[in-house]
């Protein structure tokens, strides 16, 4: 069963949606409380986030650092533009792979949906090329992570 959708829209957007059983308040906290973020925003098995700094207020900054425990790692930094508990977060972020990628503008909304919530993420990249490159470099990471997982299985 797949509750998540991922699609590209127009020339510069990437849209992700996902339903959750929990209410928007909990979802919002899980996106802004460092202790909670470190429990889930990890990507593939085997990766951890040893550094999670998050100051969720307008103008506040965040920094997430990931490692696979075997020498590979990367980090993201970002700034909050708008923060409306418990419904909407707007921020910009960029990855360091280690080279800095162009800024990704991200709007995240949490809407009540029956007993649970519907989360929508709308990413806006500066231009088509950057979106293309983001999707393409993400591949290398996805692949790397898959290899790491594979290592664990064999």
């Amino acid at each position: 069963m797949s509750k998540m959708t991922l699609k590209i829209e127009g020339d510069t957007h990437v849209i992700v949606t996902r339903r959750f059983a929990a209410p928007p308040e909990a979802l919002y906290r899980a996106h802004t409380d460092p202790e909670l973020i470190q429990k889930w925003l990890l990507g593939p098995e085997g990766w951890t986030m040893p550094v999670c700094i998050n100051d969720a207020k307008p103008g506040g900054k965040f920094r997430y650092e990931w490692t696979n425990g075997k020498g590979a790692g990367f980090h993201i930094t970002g700034e909050y533009l708008e923060v409306s508990p418990f419904s909407r977060i707007v921020h910009v972020e960029r990855m360091f792979l280690p080279d800095r990628t162009p800024d990704n503008h991200v709007e995240t909304t949490f809407e009540r949906d029956g007993e649970g919530s519907l989360m929508k993420i709308r990413m806006t990249l500066p231009d088509e090329k950057t979106r293309a490159m983001m999707l393409a470099t993400g591949m290398e990471h996805g692949m790397e992570a898959s290899y790491v997982r594979l290592e664990g299985m064999i």
Partner: protein, 112 residues
Amino acid sequence: MDGLDTKFSALADPTRRAILARLSLGEATVNELARPFEMSQPAISQHLKVLEDAGLILRRVEGTKRPRRLAKEGIEAMDQWLGMLRTALEKNYDRLDGVLANIDTQKKGEMR
């Protein structure tokens, strides 16, 4: 690796995406592909070259014509990548389901 960079870059152009959309309906010649666009045939040929170099379309020789069609393998490679991204994100959100379940039980009184 057979350039995903090249593939995604090739897609980063509205004319080339329109060409791919047209080819998803079936094979077409350069003339047929050029018709809906206000573009010279050389300009369209240039776009076709980018798509071909990226492994997204194939060409066939039929007399003097060179009809193009979608390259299944090239398209599937991109689709596979999107699938992998989806899987990584889904893993995050599956874990988040667990985290949220704990918040719900532990912090119910505190929430409001």
